[in-house]
Amino acid sequence: MAFDLTDILLSILKIAIILGIWLNVTPIMVWVERRGSALIQDRPGPNRVGPLGLLQSFADALKFIMKEDIIPAKAHKWLYTLAPTFGLLPAITTIAVVPWGRSFTIPEMHLFGRTLFEGGRWFNPIVADVSAGILVIFALASLGVYGITIAGWASANKYAMFGAIRASAQMISYELSLTLAAVSVLLVAGSLRLTEVVAQQTNYYFVLFDFIKLPAWNVLSPAMWLSFIVFTVSAFAETNRLPFDFAEAEAELVAGYHTEYSSMKFALFFMAEYMAMATMSALITTLYLGGWDIPWYNEPATFLGFLLSFAAFLVKMGFLLFVFVWVRWTIPRLKYDILMRLGWKVFLPMAFINIVIVAAFIAARWI
């Protein structure tokens, strides 16, 4: 692997961009969540701090920092402190293998007659384009369960423990459906690389009279509908969002695994939840909604094309994030046994059936 200083700087720039977005997802989504729930429940919501209550999140963050950081006397001090970090780590790192724009050649840049940047370099807007691709996401996401389990155990609180046990059972169960649903997409793309998954979706399914074209987004293919449903629902379960938020189920378990947490440690769990939501939205976008592809438009391999595709990616992701909020305030919580039965007896067979369907479509050369 040969790389020079410019490559390292570009990598740092990519990490800075994507991490900047991911860190800002939490305050923005908290605002969307609170205003959205208010909209759905026909009440004003937070509207005092800043225009439309936009600065509410900053006030909340300030409050988090000012609160006393309590460690229960019977807690396991080390693991109690470590658990929020464990929860946050997979949420931050998994985004590294998701492409977020069209790659382009960087033009030559001049400043006062000196060559600031020699051109001809290919800028691929993905932090790490590894061949294992989506497996890295599943690997790191499977570590997310540790954060919740350790938090519940180390708190020495029975409600926290119940929440942790529920969460780990649920996350292990739905991880299977999630992974198997993604297999269908990988079969069509023929690669584990998410860049190639997106590249395949920039084509068109059929072209009629040269202007009626159907984008080859996986969600538009009949072979993928089962897989799309399974993946999306499992994504809700993986991120512990309502209607599957048994880890915290406030009506039954006080606050579940983070009952004992306060101050910034609690805020870290909060951030982890929203970042995991953002990662899942980005993943659904990439696997099913064509990633950064703009339908019926051929993005040029220039900076403008990159910006447009990046915007398309963010719009799709933002819409899915809104769906997360929308569902939370619309659908009530299921019962725990129904959740497990749904995971093992409905979604898992559905994911398997979809793999067979997609394989048949590929064998018949329909895709």
Binding site: V130, S131, F138, T149, W153, I165
Partner: protein, 180 residues
């Protein structure tokens, strides 16, 4: 650069592996094993086999150790550390493990060949692994799946959820409630 990463993560792997054995609290031990597996996955990445690294984390850290941790936590709700062992036990365990370690090091120094592997030796991407598994090694692969199926059926039978043994468990007697 690669050497620096290698030695840092080798050190992490060794330290956490020692922690697994030496720490008194089994939950900390299990988590240390996870950290050790993670450092091991970094080794695979350095050998240019990110596929194996991902599988290492998914299978060991993501699946097996979660179940281990689950069981340990359920058995150990009070954050109990293991009680100290007796001196005789300590003596026996230390001497036996030291003998094993000396034997292992001797064997390694005598027979192991320290030679750089040709680059791309571990270039095992999903395609090659899949083709190998379903062509050259399809028989062992199917055998393993039958073994796992037998284990699942066995676990179901032992937990009494099979159709044959669905007799009702008698409800525990509650104090103050008359039997009808």
């Amino acid at each position: 650069m690669e050497y620096a990463i290698f030695f840092v993560f080798a050190a992490i792997a060794v330290v956490f592996a020692l922690l697994v054995v030496l720490h008194r609290n089994p939950v900390v031990g299990a988590l240390s094993l996870v950290a050790s597996f993670f450092a091991l996955a970094v080794m695979y990445v350095l050998l240019e086999a990110p596929f194996l690294a991902a599988l290492q984390i998914i299978v060991y850290a993501g699946a097996i150790m979660v179940l281990f941790l689950f069981v340990i936590m359920l058995l150990n709700l009070q954050h109990m550390a293991e009680p100290a062992t007796r001196p005789v036990q300590q003596f026996l365990s230390y001497t036996s493990s030291a003998a094993f370690a000396i034997g292992l090091i001797y064997y390694l120094l005598k027979y192991a060949v320290f030679e750089a592997l040709p680059s791309g030796f571990f270039a095992a991407d999903a395609r090659t692994v899949g083709i190998r598994m379903f062509e050259a090694y399809v028989f062992p692969f199917e055998m393993v799946s039958i073994l796992l199926l037998a284990a699942i059926v066995g676990a179901l039978t032992l937990s009494g959820r099979m159709t044959g043994s669905r007799e009702k468990v008698p409800a525990p007697e509650q104090p103050g409630v008359e039997a009808r």
